[in-house]
Amino acid sequence: MATPTPPGPAHPSRPSRPTRAGFGEWWSERSVIERRLGIGAIAILIGWLLLIAFSSFDLSAVYVAIVFLLLYVPAWDKLPFRIGRVRAGRLVIPVALIVLAVTYPFYFDRLFEVPIFGPFPAVSTGVYMLVYIMMAIGLNVVVGYAGLLDLGYVAFYAIGAYTVAWFASVQFPNHNVHFWAVGVGSNVPGFHISVWFLLIAAGIITAVAGVIIGLPTLRLRGDYLAIVTLGFGEILPQIARNGDDLFGSGFNLTNGPNGITPIDSPGFGSVNYLTGYNSFFTSDRLFYWTALILVLITAFCSWRLRDSRLGRAWIAIREDETAAAAMGVPLMRTKTWAYATGAFFGGVAGAFYASSKSATFPGDFFFNISVFILCMVILGGMGNILGVVLGAAFLAYLDREGLANIGGWLNTHFGPGGSTVQIWSTQIDVPKYEFGIFGIILLVVMLFRPEGLIPSSRRAAEFHEGVADQPLYDVSH
């Protein structure tokens, strides 16, 4: 008979690493600035070596290096000045990052080419990235804060997108309702309500839908909840796909696989987003800045929510449902709030994106998209807003431009007639394997760094020490 596996702590906490003598000791004795200077110098050195190796050196690399040094090296948060009750130093990096993001349309095309990845993303890609950042922050509320695995997040995105598609297009030509819509003639049939109102309305409708989905299902245990949300995520797109003739009644709800297009764009005064205003306010830039504002609002709300009473209740439920219930946290209400909040952000993001690309198709709402957003949250670090933002930006960029660029680079260097060495003889279509790559990311991150690249320290502790997240009894009634 085989040797029995001894029962015991399944995942013992790791012993603290002994401090190494020599370099480690020397290193830990340096001041913060010296240490950061060292890491910064090494990072910049490696970056420049890469740039030179791939022969795309550019003066803009110097500017990027300077910005990096200015942001990273000084211990800004240790500055003694205060603005009101907030330490001034703590605002330096966020403000600088926001300024960099806001001015991005003016300098992105003058930046150097990153080796392998190619040029920096265009502004239209930036809009796409920001929309996905918004959705990832929303999903992070559900998965990261409350610990409920939602595999049907795309359903909320779909509800938001179709809300704006119904009320700001010519989908229902028998009605003629206009309300503050910019750039739409008053005799155009259909509902035309200002997209600005619709963004809020879509969020609220989606939140209500989240509550309706959540009320019967949130009682279920984690993995059952995941599969039920997956079910909703499959049912709603199918309704969208078959909704051009609902049950043979002839009522065209969603225009079927052709989708609803065109959708009105939001407007600002007399400025129409689709055409832009002038060479400064082009439509790409207008959408980019609007999306940026939405992301900032979303991130701020998410950050404040995390530290609120509700947010602490979410985290308590995530860590130990039974203990949280015993401490008087109302499980159902708290979970439903998490669902509604996540759904709200997803709905706003979906509505904005549908309006920005002026169309919505049922093909946009595959299960893959749910996993795509989940992958962003997990890669960045569940529960950490900065991590989620970076993870979402990176993956959305890969989806839009990055994989194609990387594929092109790989094929020119190692593909047929490759400039370095020919390894494969037919062109490899890298973007085709996008979801396989995301699958590998999910797997590798969960196996080796389950807390994500930029973790919240609390979530990291849970993953390494384990939590009692399997309730002994159903305590939800």
Binding site: R221, G231, D469
Partner: protein, 352 residues
């Protein structure tokens, strides 16, 4: 209000409230039966033929659903990658029959029977080893981690396997020739029953009996049941838990391999993303029957197969194949919400 409530005696004051849910569920089932009955009266031969199709498809689902239920029973994990293991099994079957043994349409019985009988164990072994490897890579390192962690790696693994299929066979349907004979076994009026449907059952039933024998009678099956009940206690009794879990995945994969072969031969086309969809349907079957319960998985699969066939085949007010996925998921959601223990499962303290 509050004082009024306090004045009343404490025991036996609860007003009788009829429970709405069983009534609503009963009405739903009644409406379903009426719909089936009308269809039966209107087109009896179609009805019979569609029922036979449903049983055939249900038998294939049963093989996949058993894989879900075995793994869930022992690890409490939804193995999302299982459907994709099945898909790779079907692709393996397509490769073996077409490229290795170069079978064609309407092959002579003396040729295809031995080849299919040879392909069956090869496919089962391939999928079994694949599934056990998936467990080794993606689930074993995460024992004791929060429950969400292996679920997420399962999704990752599912996508990886899907892309393996994509890289192997491309994005289009892989055609498989009509190897199985399509002649009628019998016909009742206008309803026909072809050989290919019967062969699916002829292969499925011994596999199911073998599985029941394995789980109920052998030493290894006893170890599986013990580990499913309480893995810590099983370890204390000298059972090698990790090996038992690997063995379970091997068996589950082998069932998926058999299903893949049958699917490739019966449906005659395979595509890289079919595994995930069929896997979800099979998982629904497992939940419908009561997850962790082997006869339940077979029953659930037959029911889901019938639901799908009736939905797609019947003439009178059937929603049609556009809605199959939605109907299956609606069944899943209703079952999970109202009877999480499934049709044959028992209620556990965890509440399902």
């Amino acid at each position: 209000m509050a004082t009024e409530a306090r004045r009343q005696p404490l025991i036996g004051t609860r007003r009788y409230r009829p429970d709405v849910m069983p009534i609503a569920g009963g009405l739903l089932v009644l409406a379903l039966l009426v719909w089936l009955g009308i269809n039966l009266v209107k087109t009896p031969y179609d009805f019979l033929e569609i029922t036979l199709i449903g049983v055939t498809v249900g038998a294939i689902y049963a093989l996949v659903a058993l894989g879900y239920t075995l793994v869930y029973g022992i690890l409490e994990l939804i193995n999302f990658a299982h459907g994709d293991v099945f898909m790779l099994g079907a692709m393996m079957a397509a490769t073996l029959t077409v490229q290795v043994f170069s079978l064609h349409d309407n092959e002579a019985a003396g040729k295809w029977i031995p080849i299919v009988l040879l392909c069956l164990p090869i496919g089962m072994l391939f999928c079994g080893v694949l599934n056990a490897t998936v467990e080794r890579i993606a689930y074993r390192p995460l024992r004791g981690a929060p429950r969400l962690a292996p679920l997420i790696t399962a999704i990752g693994m599912s996508f990886i396997l899907q892309n393996v299929g994509l890289a192997w066979k491309g994005a289009n349907y892989v055609p498989v020739p009509n190897i199985l004979p399509r002649g009628d076994v019998f016909n009742v009026g206008e309803a026909d029953y072809q050989w290919n449907k019967l062969i699916v059952l002829i292969v499925t039933i011994p596999v199911l009996i073998g599985l029941i024998f394995l789980v109920q009678e052998t030493r290894q099956g006893k170890a599986m049941r013990a580990t499913a009940q309480d893995s810590d206690a099983a370890a204390m009794m000298g059972i090698n838990v990790n090996r038992t879990i690997s063995f379970t995945f091997l068996i589950a994969g082998a069932l998926a391999g058999a299903a893949g072969l049958l699917y490739a031969l019966y449906v005659t086309n395979v595509r890289y993303d079919q595994g995930f969809q069929l896997g979800l349907i099979a998982f629904t079957s497992a939940v419908l029957g009561g997850i962790g319960n082997l006869p339940g998985a077979v029953l659930g699969a037959l029911l889901i197969g019938l639901i799908q066939a009736f939905n797609e085949g019947l003439n009178w007010h059937a929603p049609g194949s556009d809605w199959t996925q939605s109907i299956v998921f609606t069944v899943l959601i209703l079952i999970l919400v109202f009877r999480p223990e499934g049709l044959l499962g028992e209620r556990t303290p965890e509440g399902g």
